[in-house]
């Protein structure tokens, strides 16, 4: 061996053994002595299978050059005290004065495997927590919609009917009165009842904004946008190019995501203009909501807790089998883009089974 090769061989951080074509060990460095627990004199002349018992170490047939330059194996090494360890083995063919041979560079990867095991355990915990969170959000969103719908139905079918009946009786009573002072009192009472009815109808709209009685998605969004324009002087453009008749559940879902985006515009964006665009793409609805406000740094905002609105927007889209991206940069406004398929929301059991799998 040249002195240069000898130096490299001796000072390599990895254990190295030189093996001839027959699998006999010709030499070993001090790291190999430390790793396998044999002196190099004990190793010389022995089969390489002493170090890797019961395993095939594929060696070159001696025809020479570059057959498996840098070939790589995962083997189980065995030391003189019969300790076994996972070994990462690189086989490098070389030419020596005595002919062709192979250098086996051996590394004990016990620690790496332990670290990988710990990482995988951590990953298990993370995935489980993520599944639980998704399941919780899924449940939360569905329960929220169901509850809103139930409350709206209750108000519509019960409370409003009772108030309407009360209003009717009030009118009958008023017609029987001759005293102008008493009629005036009843007029004021009737006005109060009208106000209560009007507020309850607004509440039903808020709870079921996209129901046919309210004119569907576009009408519901326009109402929100008009309110924002009136309150904050934020102009808007609404371009709804979806011609398909949307299932009620999808229509409500699109509205809720857009509504959340508009709440953010209202609360944070300081925008002058917001554009909403809906179009049919790939069997679903692609929505883009763009404002010209102050924007924000996603890296700063998303790392902090308390931005459940952003998570809910994404989660709503994912539950429906779609996706949602919310992007911004300080000073350049915010873009919310999402797509949901028309095929509708998957049934809850499917979602749960998939996520539990």
């Amino acid at each position: 061996m040249s002195s240069r090769f000898t130096q490299l061989f001796e000072h390599s951080p990895d254990a190295m053994v030189i093996v001839d074509r027959t699998g006999q060990i010709n030499d070993a460095n001090k790291q190999a002595e430390a790793l396998f627990g044999y002196g190099r004199d004990q190793m010389r002349g022995r089969s390489v299978n002493t170090l890797f018992p019961g395993q095939t170490v594929p060696l070159s047939n001696g025809s020479g050059r570059g057959e498996r330059v840098g070939s790589h194996l995962d083997l189980v090494g065995s030391s003189s005290d019969l300790r076994q360890f996972p070994a990462d083995v690189n086989i490098i063919p070389i030419q020596t004065q005595r002919g062709s041979a192979e250098v086996l560079s051996v590394r004990d990867i016990t620690e790496e495997q332990r670290a990988q095991f710990v990482l995988e355990l951590g990953l298990d915990v993370f995935e489980s927590a993520d599944r639980n969170l998704q399941s919780l959000l899924d449940h939360f969103i569905r329960a929220q919609e169901e509850e809103r719908s139930r409350i709206a139905a209750g108000i519509h079918d019960d409370t409003i009917q009772i108030l309407a009946a009360a209003n009717l009786r009030l009118q009958q009573l008023r017609n029987r009165l001759d005293d102008p002072e008493q009629r005036d009192i009843l007029d004021k009472l009737a006005k109060t009842l009208h106000m209560a009815l009007s507020r309850l109808r607004q509440l039903i709209f808020d709870l079921r904004p996209t129901s046919p009685e309210h004119g569907g998605l576009e009408s519901a969004l326009r109402a929100v946008l008009e309110q924002m324009q009136s309150d904050l002087d934020v102009r808007y453009q609404l371009d709804d190019r979806c011609t398909s008749s949307l299932p009620a559940s999808i229509s409500a879902l699109i509205f809720r995501i857009a509504q959340e985006a508009l709440i953010n515009v209202r609360k944070h964006a300081k925008a002058k203009m917001v554009q909403l665009e809906f179009q049919e793409v790939g069997g679903g609805c692609l929505a883009r909501i763009v404002d010209d406000g102050v924007g924000y740094s996603p890296a700063d905002v998303e790392e902090r807790p308390g931005h459940i609105g952003l998570s809910l927007m994404r989660e709503r889209a994912v539950i429906a089998g779609g996706w949602c991206r919310i992007e911004s940069t300080p000073g350049t406004g915010t873009v919310v883009e999402f797509w949901v398929p028309y095929s509708g929301l998957p049934t809850q059991p499917e979602v749960r089974n998939e996520r539990a799998a």
């Binding site: 995988e120 990953l123 995935e127 953010n264 609360k267 944070h268 179009q279 793409v281 790939g282 069997g283 679903g284 692609l286 883009r288 102050v294 924000y296 740094s297 996603p298 890296a299 700063d300 905002v301 902090r304 308390g306 931005h307 609105g309 952003l310 994912v318 089998g321 779609g322 996706w323 991206r325 992007e327 911004s328 940069t329 300080p330 873009v335 883009e337 797509w339 398929p341 998957p346 499917e350 979602v351 998939e354 996520r355 799998a357």
Partner: protein
């Protein structure tokens, strides 16, 4: 290796690693390329991804996309690049790599911005390759960026503080 991002997990991980090799100019190139792709074409490709995959597969593709987006944000921040189109491109590309076999020609649409700097990623018909050679220029850019990392982080935080964006934290 555990296939956390589906069957192409290794390629996704390689892609995530390679994002760190990009130079500021390459990020600019990706950003420009992403903005040149039609929104509708991109959405069609995502629709294909969603149509062709089960819910579980979709979740793993979206996980790959989310990790890539975060990684790209970190890379961009380190190199003082703020255009979100870069991490949007990484989001698309990671999902495309993860779902490659499901996407057909849509793969090229989602990957094209990143393929401008990693040409080996392009080509839906070919087997996925890792970006071929990491040039010394890229490695030098990475080293230089790493040495600037702390300064950049500090200055960006100061910038955020000065611009009084505390209100946005409530999002």
């Amino acid at each position: 290796m555990r296939p956390i991002f589906g069957p192409n997990t290794r390629q996704v991980l390689t892609f995530l690693t390679d994002l760190w090799l990009l130079s500021p100019e390459e990020i600019n190139r990706v950003t420009r390329a992403w903005r040149e792709v039609s929104d509708v074409e991109r959405a069609e490709s995502w629709a294909q991804l969603h149509r062709a995959a089960s819910l579980r597969e979709r979740n793993s593709y979206l996980a790959a996309a989310s990790v890539a987006r975060k990684q790209a944000m970190d890379v961009a921040s380190m190199l003082q690049r703020t255009d979100w189109a870069f991490w949007a491109a990484a989001w698309d590309a990671a999902a495309a790599i993860a779902a490659r076999e499901r996407l057909g020609s849509h793969y090229d649409i989602l990957i094209s911005p990143l393929a401008t700097v990693f040409p080996s990623l392009s080509g839906s018909g070919n087997r996925l390759q890792v970006p071929a050679q990491r040039s010394e220029r890229q490695a030098a850019a990475k080293r230089e960026a790493a040495s600037r990392g702390k300064v950049t982080e500090t200055s960006s935080k100061q910038g955020a503080h000065r611009s009084g964006r505390a209100g946005m934290e409530a999002r």
